[in-house]
C-alpha cells in the first residue's frame, strides 16, 4: 500500500477504465487483436493497480467475490461452452452459432452473432482474471 493521494485518487478512475477496456478487448477479440487472455490480463492489471494503491483488503471488498471462485467459475463456463456442442451431436468444443436478426438470403449479413465460442472466451477471461488476482492478492497480504 502506497500513501500517495494522487495515486489513490487516480486508481479509482484508472481501474474502472481498465475494466471497461478489458471488456472491450474481450468482445472485439474475434475479429481484431484482443480476446479472453488479453482481456483477462488487462482487467487483472486494473485491480492489481488498485491493490497497490489501496491495499489487498480494499481490493477484495471491491471485487465482492473471491478471485479463486471467479477463476473456477470461469473454468466451469469454458467447460460448459465446450460440452454444449455435444447436445447438438457435434464433437466437444465445436462452436455453435446463432445470427440474431440476420437476413438468411444475404450471406454477408450476420446480424448479431452470438456463439458458444464467445461464452468460451468469457470463461478464459474469468480464469485469467481470477487466477492472477488470486496470486497477487495472496502474495500482497502475505508481505
Amino acid at each position: 500500500m502506497i500513501n500517495s493521494i494522487i495515486l489513490v485518487a487516480a486508481t479509482r478512475l484508472l481501474t474502472a477504465l481498465l475494466l471497461l477496456f478489458s471488456i472491450f478487448m474481450l468482445l472485439r477479440g474475434h475479429n481484431l487483436p484482443g480476446g479472453g487472455f488479453i482481456g483477462g490480463l488487462i482487467g487483472a492489471t486494473g485491480y492489481v493497480l488498485y491493490a497497490i494503491a489501496q491495499g489487498a483488503e480494499a481490493t477484495r471488498r471491491a471485487l465482492r467475490y473471491e478471485p479463486q471462485n471467479i477463476a473456477m467459475v470461469g473454468l466451469g463456463i469454458a467447460l460448459a461452452a465446450g460440452v454444449f456442442a455435444a447436445f447438438f451431436g457435434d464433437a466437444f468444443f465445436t462452436g455453435q452459432w446463432w445470427f440474431a436478426g440476420a437476413d438468411p438470403s444475404d450471406p454477408d449479413d450476420k446480424g448479431l452473432p452470438i456463439s458458444s465460442v464467445l461464452v468460451f472466451d468469457i470463461g478464459v477471461y474469468l480464469v485469467v482474471f481470477g487466477s492472477i488476482l488470486t496470486l497477487v492478492l495472496a502474495l500482497e497480504e502475505e508481505v
Binding site: H30, A71, V124, V127, L135
Partner: protein, 768 residues
C-alpha cells in the same frame, strides 16, 4: 482373515454383498444364450472400435474355449461371492474386498473374451493387479504383503514379456485381432521371429499359470482369504496362462519347440507339485499344490497337441475347476467353523458338518478319479491321449500316472482324514456353516456327479466346442463316455487306485521322509526369490545414490548436460550442419530499430546473468521482456505482443512485492564451479542456435496455417485468426491451458495460506 477393527453387522454382506452375487449371476445367465450357437460350431464375433488408428478394437470372440472359461468364471464367481457374504460379510473392509473381486472378474472375463491382443493384455494385467490386491487383502500381515508382492512381480514380469511377444506377433501377422492371427498359423511358424515370440508368450503363460520354475508364488498366494484362493488361484486366474496357451495353439503350436517346452515344463510341474502336495500339513497348502499339479497337466496336454490330448485337456479343465473350487470352499468352511486347517488336528468332522462333508466328499472322489464322477472321465481321457501319442508317450503317461496316484492320496488327506474317525478337539467347537457357504460345494458336486453320469451334456456344451477352438479343426468328432470296454487306459486307472491306496496308507511316514529330503535340498525357490529381490533393492539403492544426490544444482547440471550431449550427438550423427548460411539475405532490410531490440535483449540477458544486485537483475529482466514484446510487434503479432507486455508488467509487480521479504542475492559462494557452469551454459546456447539455424534453413510446412487462414471466416466467423485458433479450432487445448493456470494459482494460494511450518530449528518435531 484379517482381524482388523470391529466386525460390522451386515445381512449377507449388505448391498455390496447382494450386488456382488447379482452381477456374476446376470453374466452367467447372459452367457448361457451362446451355448447353443457355439455348440453348433458357430463362434460369435462382436466388436467395437476403441483406438482405430492403432488397430486396437474392443472385440469379443465367443467360441468353445472362451465360452467354457466365461461360464466357469461367472458361475463359480457367483458361488464364491455368495460364499463370501458369510465368510467375510461382517469384515470392516468387506466392500473393498467385493470391489477387488468384481474388478478381477471383469478383467478375467475380458481376458478370455477379448479378440484383440492388446485388449487381452490390458485385461491380463487387470487380473494381475486385482490378484495383488486380493492376496494382500489382510494388509496388516507382513506375510500377506510379501506374498502379494511376489505374485505381482512374478506375473507382472511375465506380463511384460507377453506384451513384447504380442507386439512381435501382431507385426508378424499384420493384425492384432486373434480371429485373424489364428488363421495364419503356417506363416507365423515359418517366420524368423517365431522362436522369440514363443519364448515371450510362454514366459507370460508360465508365470501366470505357475509352471516350474515360476511355481513358487502360487502356494504363497494362499495367504489370501479362502474365497479368493478358490476363485483366483484355482478355478480362474491361474488358468489364464493355460487359456493363453490353448488360445494360441492353432497359431503357435505344432512345432518341436512348442511341443517340448510345454511337455517338459508341464510334466515336471505336475509330478513335482503332486509330490509337494502330499508333504503338506495345512490342507489349504495341499490343495494349492494339487492346483499346481492340474496346471502342469493342462500345459502338458496342450503341448502334446493331438486332438485326443486337447479333448482330454478341455475335459480335465472343466473337471478340475468343478472339484477344486468345491474343495477350497470346503476347507474355508472348516477353517471358519473350527479355526484350524491342520490335517493332524482335524478328525471326525463328518457328523458335525454333514453337508460340508457331502460337498467335499463328492469333490474329493472326483479328484481321486473314482467313477461315476466326472473326474474319472477326465483322468481316463488323459490316459488315453497319453497312450496314443507318437512321441514322448511314456513320459506323458508316466507323469500323469504318478500325479494321479498322488492326487488320490491328496484327496484322502484333504477330506477323508478330517471328516472321518473320532471327533478331535479344535480351537472352536465345530458346527455346520450357513447355507450360503455349503451351497457352493454342493452345487459344484452336483455338477461333478451330473456330468459324470451324463457325459454327453458336458461333451456337447463345453468340451467339443472347446476342443474345436483349441485344435483349430471344427470337423473333429468329440466323444466322451464313462465306460465302454476294458482297455489300457482303464487298466491304468485301476493301477492308479491301487498305487494311490497303498501310498495313502503310508502317507504319514512318507510325509516325514519327504520333508527331510526337501530340507536337505540346497535349491530353494522361495528364499532364492528373497535373494533376487534383495539384489534388486541393492541395485536400486546403488543407482539412486548416484543419480539422486538431493542437490538441485547437480540435477540441473545433469539435465542440461544430457540435453547438450543428446542434441550435439544428434546434430553430428544426422550431419545436419552441412548448409551454407545466407547472411546477406538475412541482414537485408534491417533497420536501426531491429538492431536496437537485438542489442537490448542480448545485453539484458547477459546483465541478468552476471549482476549481483537483484534490482539490476529485475530491471534487466524487464528489458528482455519488453524487447521480446517489441519483436512480436515488429513481426505482426499484435495479440502476442499485448499479452507479453501485460504479463511482463505483472511479473515485475509480483517480483517487486516478493522482494520486500526476500534477502539480497549476495555473491555466489561457488566461484570454483563457475567456469564449468559457464562452459556448459555456453555449449547449450550454441547448440540451441545451431538447431534453430538448421530449422530455419529447411522449408516451412504451412499446411495447417493455410487451413486456418481459409477456414477462419467461412467456418468460424472470425477475422482474427490467432483468436479463432485459440477459442474455436484448438479450444480443447486452450481449455487444458486455462485449467493449468487455475491449478497454478490455487496451488500458490494454498502455499501462501496453508499451514506455516516452524523455523528450521524445530522442524524435526514436525516430521515425526
Amino acid at each position: 482373515m484379517a482381524k482388523t477393527g470391529a466386525e460390522v453387522p451386515r445381512v449377507y454382506g449388505g448391498p455390496a454383498g447382494w450386488i456382488s452375487v447379482a452381477i456374476p449371476a446376470a453374466i452367467f445367465a447372459f452367457m448361457l444364450q451362446f451355448v447353443a450357437p457355439v455348440a453348433a460350431g458357430q463362434p460369435v464375433l462382436l466388436g467395437l472400435d476403441w483406438v482405430p488408428s492403432m488397430d486396437i478394437r474392443l472385440s469379443v470372440l465367443i467360441d468353445g474355449l472362451s465360452l467354457t472359461f466365461a461360464l466357469l468364471i461367472s458361475g463359480i464367481g457367483m458361488l464364491v461371492t455368495l460364499y463370501s457374504t458369510k465368510y467375510l460379510g461382517t469384515h470392516p473392509e468387506y466392500p473393498r474386498f467385493v470391489l477387488f473381486l468384481m474388478l478381477f472378474m471383469v478383467g478375467m472375463l475380458g481376458l478370455v473374451l477379448a479378440d484383440n491382443l492388446i485388449a487381452l493384455f490390458v485385461f491380463w494385467e487387470i487380473t494381475t493387479i486385482s490378484s495383488y490386491l486380493l492376496i494382500g487383502f489382510s494388509s496388516d500381515e507382513a506375510k500377506s504383503r510379501r506374498s502379494a508382492l511376489q505374485a505381482l512381480l512374478v506375473t507382472g514380469t511375465g506380463g511384460l514379456a507377453l506384451l513384447a511377444g504380442m507386439i512381435l506377433l501382431g507385426n508378424v501377422a499384420g493384425s492384432f485381432e486373434l480371429s485373424v492371427i489364428l488363421q495364419q498359423g503356417d506363416a507365423i511358424r515359418a517366420h524368423p521371429l517365431y522362436v522369440p515370440i514363443v519364448i515371450l508368450f510362454l514366459a507370460g503363460a508360465f508365470t501366470k499359470s505357475a509352471q516350474f520354475p515360476f511355481h513358487f508364488w502360487l502356494p504363497n498366494a494362499m495367504a489370501a482369504p479362502t474365497p479368493v484362493s478358490a476363485y483366483l488361484h484355482s478355478a480362474t486366474m491361474v488358468k489364464g496362462g493355460v487359456y493363453l496357451m490353448a488360445r494360441m495353439n492353432p497359431a503357435l503350436g505344432e512345432t518341436d519347440l512348442w511341443f517340448w517346452a510345454l511337455v517338459i515344463a508341464g510334466g515336471f510341474t505336475t509330478v513335482f507339485a503332486s509330490i509337494l502336495a502330499v508333504r503338506q500339513t495345512d490342507i489349504k497348502q495341499v490343495l494349492a499344490y494339487t492346483t499346481l499339479m492340474a496346471l502342469g497337466a493342462l500345459t502338458l496336454f496342450i503341448g502334446a497337441g493331438t486332438a485326443d490330448a486337447i479333448k482330454g485337456m478341455m475335459t480335465f479343465l472343466v473337471v478340475h475347476s468343478l472339484y477344486k473350487a468345491a474343495l477350497f470352499l470346503m476347507i474355508g468352511i472348516v477353517d471358519h467353523e473350527t479355526g484350524t486347517r491342520d490335517v493332524d488336528t482335524l478328525r471326525g468332522l463328518g457328523r458335525k458338518m454333514p453337508l460340508t462333508f457331502l460337498g467335499g466328499a463328492i469333490a474329493a472322489l472326483s479328484m481321486a478319479g473314482i467313477p461315476p464322477l466326472v473326474g474319472f472321465i477326465g483322468k481316463e481321457f488323459l490316459y488315453k491321449a497319453g497312450l496314443g501319442l507318437d512321441t514322448a508317450s511314456l513320459w506323458v503317461t508316466g507323469c500323469i500316472f504318478a500325479a494321479s496316484a498322488l492326487m488320490f492320496v491328496a484327496a484322502g488327506i484333504s477330506v477323508l482324514r478330517p471328516f472321518t474317525g473320532k471327533l478331535a478337539p479344535t480351537p472352536q467347537a465345530p458346527h455346520e456353516g450357513p447355507w450360503a457357504m455349503w451351497i457352493g460345494p454342493l452345487l459344484l458336486g452336483a455338477f461333478s456327479l451330473g456330468f459324470g453320469l451324463f457325459p454327453d451334456t458336458i461333451e456337447a456344451w463345453l468340451v467339443a466346442p472347446g476342443t474345436w477352438a483349441v485344435y483349430g479343426d471344427y470337423g473333429y468328432s468329440v466323444d466322451l463316455y464313462l465306460f465302454r470296454e476294458v482297455n489300457a487306459a482303464f487298466l491304468l486307472s485301476l493301477a492308479t487306485f491301487a498305487t494311490g491306496a497303498v501310498l495313502y496308507a503310508v502317507h504319514r511316514p512318507m510325509r516325514d521322509r519327504l520333508g527331510r529330503l526337501f530340507e536337505a535340498n540346497p535349491i530353494k525357490f522361495d528364499p532364492g526369490w528373497d535373494r533376487v529381490l534383495d539384489g534388486l533393492k541393492a541395485l536400486a539403492a546403488w543407482q539412486t545414490n548416484i543419480l539422486q544426490s538431493g542437490v538441485l544444482q547437480r540435477y540441473i547440471f545433469t539435465i542440461f548436460l544430457t540435453l547438450a550431449v543428446g542434441i550435439g550427438a544428434t546434430l553430428w550423427a544426422r550431419d545436419v550442419l552441412n548448409f551454407s548460411v545466407d547472411w546477406t539475405g538475412d541482414l537485408d532490410g534491417l533497420l536501426f530499430k531491429h538492431w536496437a531490440v537485438l542489442i537490448f535483449i542480448t545485453s539484458g540477458a547477459i546483465l541478468t546473468a552476471l549482476t549481483s544486485s537483484r534490482m539490476t537483475a529485475i530491471a534487466a529482466l524487464g528489458v528482455v521482456g519488453i524487447g521480446v514484446a517489441l519483436i512480436f510487434i515488429m513481426f505482426s503479432a499484435p495479440d502476442v505482443a499485448i499479452t507479453q507486455l501485460l504479463v511482463e508488467t505483472l511479473v515485475v509487480v509480483l517480483v517487486a512485492v516478493a522482494m520486500l521479504k526476500l534477502p539480497h542475492l549476495g555473491l555466489a559462494k561457488d566461484r570454483g564451479r563457475r567456469p564449468v557452469h559457464a562452459a556448459l551454459a555456453g555449449t547449450v546456447g550454441v547448440l540451441v542456435t545451431l538447431v534453430m539455424v538448421a530449422v530455419l534453413q529447411g522449408d516451412i510446412d504451412r499446411r495447417i496455417t493455410d487451413y486456418f487462414e481459409v477456414a477462419s471466416w467461412p467456418e468460424a466467423y472470425g477475422r482474427n485468426i490467432v483468436n479463432v485458433i485459440l477459442v474455436d479450432f484448438r479450444a480443447i487445448d486452450t481449455f487444458g491451458e486455462i485449467a493449468v493456470v487455475v491449478i497454478a494459482a490455487l496451488a500458490a494460494y494454498a502455499l501462501l495460506r496453508g499451514t506455516r511450518y516452524g523455523a528450521p530449528a524445530d522442524k524435526e518435531e514436525d516430521r515425526t
